[in-house]
Amino acid sequence: MVLADLGKRINSAVNGALSNSQDDYASTVDHMLKGIVTALLESDVNVKLVSKLKNNLKSKLLDSKGDNRSISNGQTKKMIQKAVFDELCDLVDCRTGESFQPKKKKCNVIMFVGLQGSGKTTSCTKLAVYYSRRGYKVGLICADTFRAGAFDQLKQNAIKAHIPFYGSYTETNPVKVAAEGVAKFKKEKFEIIIVDTSGRHQQEQALFQEMVEISNVVKPNQTIMVLDASIGQAAEQQSKAFKESADFGAIILTKMDGHAKGGGAISAVAATNTPIIFIGTGEHMHDLEKFSPKSFVSKLLGIGDIESLLEQ
């Protein structure tokens, strides 16, 4: 995963600053913060978040060293790592309590939303395959009546994955298709019903209104926003707007097999206080991995054993 690159750079900023014994502690911290800031900005983390994180870290580090002037370099390093770790965790770990778990023998509706081309349709099938392999009865609905070929795309994916699907070539109202599909699958006792929707963006009100209407009729148990890992500074405002209208409860981060560092997505997580639950790592239906923020950040920082760090 290329995100590890960010971890390496943050680590080397920490190590580099610490190894320079000429500097006093305050300039070591300054030095290191500069390196971290550059690494984060180059990974598309939101500008405002970066400056907030920098200030938090600075006051944390300067304060704690103030109490205890005689600690060793090794201890200083650990302390710095922990402070950085905590700050990054605050960014991606949103402590929103229990995450959604679909219930067997019940009907769980999952609705997908997101910007154009982010990977919704592809991820819908991936998630359907994921749950289907775990014994759920899963159906897919194409409530994208706008994008050319959207139904064919979902249909071909579903057929390949042996997942039942619903959609229409003639109906132009996505709210209607969604309602009909959910009703049909509910009647047939499907346990997980996944609803794919068109790509949309904050600047077009009518599209957001449509999303709200779809949501109102399908009454999702979980709404997932799909985000492309390469997204830049626009991540924050777009994801905030989606949060306000669709109140999504989870994020799937796609195209993590690419070269992008995913900092924009981290900013979206922070801006909406919503966790990433899966990452997409390719175009094929099995390219989906579970995501855990804590182990993600520890990997990011190259810290093997977080627990020992946390006990400090």
Partner: protein
């Protein structure tokens, strides 16, 4: 108060590195917040330094305003294409020439880019623009990989056929038995591997020549720019199809990766071939954050042909450099 004025407002001041530092930091930060990649923002601020250190501010002009002006100049310079290309004229010229058999050679475009950026949609917008200018267009489905890619283009061809001829019946076949009508037609051969792609491309060009098409637009599958197994087929594709213009679609939403995306696609065709143009799509989704276009042009020097500003056929615009620079600086 007077000394403050003297220091900050009054002109005719020799500008030092010291004076510029905080001003440039601020401008860089602004650019980054507009989605300009940090390395590009640094480059621009170096340009401003080079331009200004040792020079004098104009009368009644602060260092800050002088730096802004210089940055506007640098951004304008990056975004302004080095050569002016009148594509319609070029196509006209080409299609008016006939070979010994009395046939014209069609003008061929291929569209490339990473996954989901808007290649197929903007290809269809290009088709609409060409149709409006009275060219016949053959649309070629060279994305034989992604589910629904062929059907997606077929829907566009039906839409475009209806737009050029109201009496067109959706789903009907034209006189050659294909989707579309006399003006716009789909060339397809289903789904398959990369051998199929090159084969379709060559067949399509021959077909277009035989059937007297003016322009061929080839869609290709989205690919990750960091995967050599996906990128290397582009080279042989370009060799076989030998398109007149290769256009990369990049989306305005992408962050710093846009620099590398543009570079890798520009380098994908070997030493003797480059990209010819960019289309920067989804500019309607980023508000003022237009940095991606600066990143892509900075990384390669390849000019922007059009910007995409929406999902309908008319949402394709020529880039106004002034608009882009004003938006970035606002």
């Amino acid at each position: 108060a007077f000394s403050f004025l003297k220091k900050h407002i009054l002109g005719n001041k020799t500008i030092s590195e010291e004076d510029l530092k905080s001003v440039l930091d601020k401008l860089q930060q602004k650019l980054i917040s507009k989605n300009v990649a940090p390395e590009v923002a640094r480059h621009l601020s170096q340009q401003v330094s080079k331009d200004l250190i040792g020079s004098k501010t104009a009368n009644w002009t602060s260092v800050e305003n002088t730096a802004r002006e210089s940055l506007i100049k640098a951004l304008t310079q990056i975004l302004t294409p080095g050569v002016s290309v009148d594509l319609l004229h070029e196509i006209q010229k080409r299609t008016s020439q006939k070979d010994s058999e009395g046939k014209k050679h069609p003008y061929v475009f291929s569209i490339v880019g990473v996954n989901g950026v808007g290649k197929s949609t903007n290809l269809s917008k290009l088709a609409f623009w060409l149709l409006q200018n009275n060219f016949n267009v053959l649309i070629v489905a060279c994305d034989t990989f992604r589910s629904g890619a062929v059907e997606q283009l077929r829907v566009h061809v039906e839409n475009l056929a209806q737009l050029t001829d109201e009496s067109h019946v959706r789903g009907s076949r034209n006189r050659r038995g294909k989707s579309g009508n006399d003006h716009v037609e789909l060339f397809e051969a289903g789904y398959g591997g990369s051998d199929l792609v090159a084969k379709i491309a060559k067949q399509a060009i021959k077909y277009a020549k035989d059937q007297n098409f003016d322009v061929v637009l080839m869609d290709t599958a989205g690919r990750r720019h960091n995967d050599p197994t996906l990128m290397s087929p582009l080279k042989s594709f370009a060799e076989q199809a030998n398109p007149d213009k290769i256009i990369m679609v990049g989306e305005a939403l992408v962050g710093t990766d846009s620099v590398q995306q543009a570079k890798n696609f520009n380098n994908a065709f070997g030493k003797v071939r480059n990209l010819d143009f960019f289309i920067v799509s989804k500019c309607d989704t980023v508000g003022e954050m237009l940095g991606t276009m600066v990143n892509m042009v900075y990384a390669t020097g390849i000019p922007i042909l059009f910007v995409g500003v929406g999902q309908t056929y008319t949402d394709l615009r020529t880039l106004s450099v002034k608009w882009a620079v004003d938006t970035l600086m606002s």
